[in-house]
Symmetry: C2
Subunit: 129 residues, 2 copies
DNA sequence: CTTAGGAATGATAATCATTATCATAACGGG
DNA sequence: CCCGTTATGATAATGATTATCATTCCTAAG
């Protein structure tokens, strides 16, 4: 049977994620947790994957290929510059209040969504042309 | 100065992308183009990156870490199962008609957006619990 | 037409985040 | 306390993407 309780690693990961203001990578998370308890990098990845399937943690992938994680409670989104890679947070989720769109299919249980805008920031837009 | 014309590779990539019904990976694109002309894998990646910065091609990253590309004209989005990895296309873009939200910052030029829902599909939801 | 500088290309090696392995440790019911 | 099951940590392997670098292609000046 699938586990009933969160494992030690899952608990540590989820607690730390909830303290973060911004999404964080698995490796950075690993470094943080190691300061408190003995843990392996693989275990961090396993915990993140499990928490994701439980709908408690969500992920997004940066332009550099890193996957960042955050607690699902945080509904943050960004505009990311394709040139310099900088990400600018949005004030609010554009999907807020779109309950209609969220229930496209009753046969699919939605845990979270990712939404990101890509383009050029002011400085890069000027020079890059 | 930055190039004025599309390179041979960029032309080939963009043309092929426009023929695809679904987003496609760089490697798959490489295989397709090779059937028509001599080309290197690195060049495909370079062309995709350039087209992305021009706002002509957009990308998304799958759960397996593959990056898929498609022409920006195609405004497709998906619901993806965190368990089996299957992606189910949405009929329409939930952001359609949200021009207000799209102009958060006049200092950022938006080329495209990614929006994806994650959760569990029917079958996986039943068994996985 | 010829030439020189810069951009594009292809083959290949290197990178690096993530996964797979596997032996060991922790857990939990009986 | 005992045994089968699950979790863990150390480490090797994977694989998509990047970095290199020598070569080819373009283009505009001479
Ligand atoms: Mn949101
Ligand atoms: Mn859309
Ligand atoms: Zn920028
Ligand atoms: Zn599924």
């Amino acid at each position: 049977m699938t586990q009933v309780h969160c494992t030690r690693a899952q608990t540590a990961v989820l607690q730390l994620l909830r303290q973060q203001r911004e999404p964080i990578s698995a490796q950075a998370l690993y470094t943080l947790i190691k300061q408190q308890q003995r843990i392996g990098l693989a275990t961090v990845y396993r915990a993140l994957d499990a928490l994701k399937r439980m709908g408690r943690v969500q992920h997004r992938v940066t332009l550099t290929g890193e996957t960042l994680y955050n607690a699902v409670e945080q509904d943050r989104h960004y505009m990311t510059c394709l040139d310099c890679g900088q990400s600018f947070p949005l004030n609010t989720c554009p999907l807020k209040g779109l309950a209609s769109s969220l229930q496209h299919s009753s046969s699919f249980t939605i845990y979270y969504h990712t939404l990101e805008f890509f383009g050029l920031c002011e400085p890069c837009s000027v020079q890059g042309g």
